[in-house]
Amino acid sequence: MDNVRRLLINGGKVLLAGCVFRTFQNHVCDFWIIAGNSMEPTVYDGQIVVGWSSGWINLNNLKRGDVIVARSPTQPKETICKRIVGLQGDRVPANYKGPELFVPAGQVWLEGDHKAVSRDSNTFGAVPLNLVQGKLICRVWPFDLSQEKINKII
């Protein structure tokens, strides 16, 4: 009986720790493993990055040049990592084949740094800010103290 009690208490502690960790992940700080090469040479496939979660950042303060992680607007289970190159009101790139001329209110224009292979706003148009899941801070694996800043000012 005593062992069962101890098991339940330890199980409860694990659940509690899981809740705290999950809440921290969703509301403060999270890490992502990069898949794909659409953001080369900034980040490569397989690297691990950390960033602020969407609950922590002010979505209205995101700037051109920030690299963000967002839910894909065309595949809801996938997450994409791209750079913000246009904010609401900005003119859309000239070679965009869709109908919009300006980035609508509450949305942003995302582009991957590796333009040749990136599927981004040039493919699926402007992305609502509410799809943003986080803003990158830095790369943690491979660890490199002298890495260039990921978020640029453009």
Binding site: L16, G98, N130
Partner: protein, 164 residues
């Protein structure tokens, strides 16, 4: 001159305060995880879904942590993040899935609902700002599928039926 006893009482109160703070943070984390993975509660604050839902009603929803976005059907009432306004939410009915033809009087350019998106409309067409205003909405913005209204309680309510 503060006595040693007064210092110990103060330290004891600080400890109790910190312990209460820790318990509140823990409770908050459990609540947050529960509302992300089990059930979530919302208060309707718009009239765009009348007569199905009214301003001030309390609803319970199935949150995104256990919602299969690909199983959503036409007629489901969902909560979604607003595609045009950060940090705001809308409550609308899904009337079109990917591939469906867009309503005839929509002024935007798309003809069909794109992949991974849905067409949302409020039941109160006169006042609702929905996909007819801002176009198809990505499934990734959906924050829950309504289960039922819990306040006011109505055992005969029917939410997820498409009425033309």
């Amino acid at each position: 001159f503060t006595s040693l006893r007064e210092i110990f009482t103060l330290m004891d109160n600080v400890r109790k305060f910190v312990r209460l703070g820790k318990r509140l943070v823990l409770a908050g984390c459990v609540y947050k995880t529960f509302t992300q993975h089990c059930y979530d509660f919302w208060i309707i604050n718009e009239n765009s879904m009348e007569p199905t839902l009214y301003d001030g009603q309390l609803v319970v929803s199935c949150p995104p942590g256990r919602l299969d976005l690909e199983q959503l059907k036409r007629g489901d009432v969902v909560l979604a993040k607003n595609p045009t306004c950060p940090r705001e939410y809308v409550c609308k009915r899904i009337v079109g899935l990917q591939g469906d033809r867009v309503p005839g009087d929509y002024r935007g350019p798309e003809m069909f609902v794109p992949a991974g998106q849905v067409w949302l409309e409020g039941d109160n067409r006169a006042v609702s700002r929905d996909s007819n205003t801002y176009g198809a909405v990505p499934l990734g913005l959906i924050q829950g599928k309504l289960i039922c209204v819990v306040w006011p309680m109505d055992l005969n309510q029917k939410l997820h039926c498409l009425h033309q």
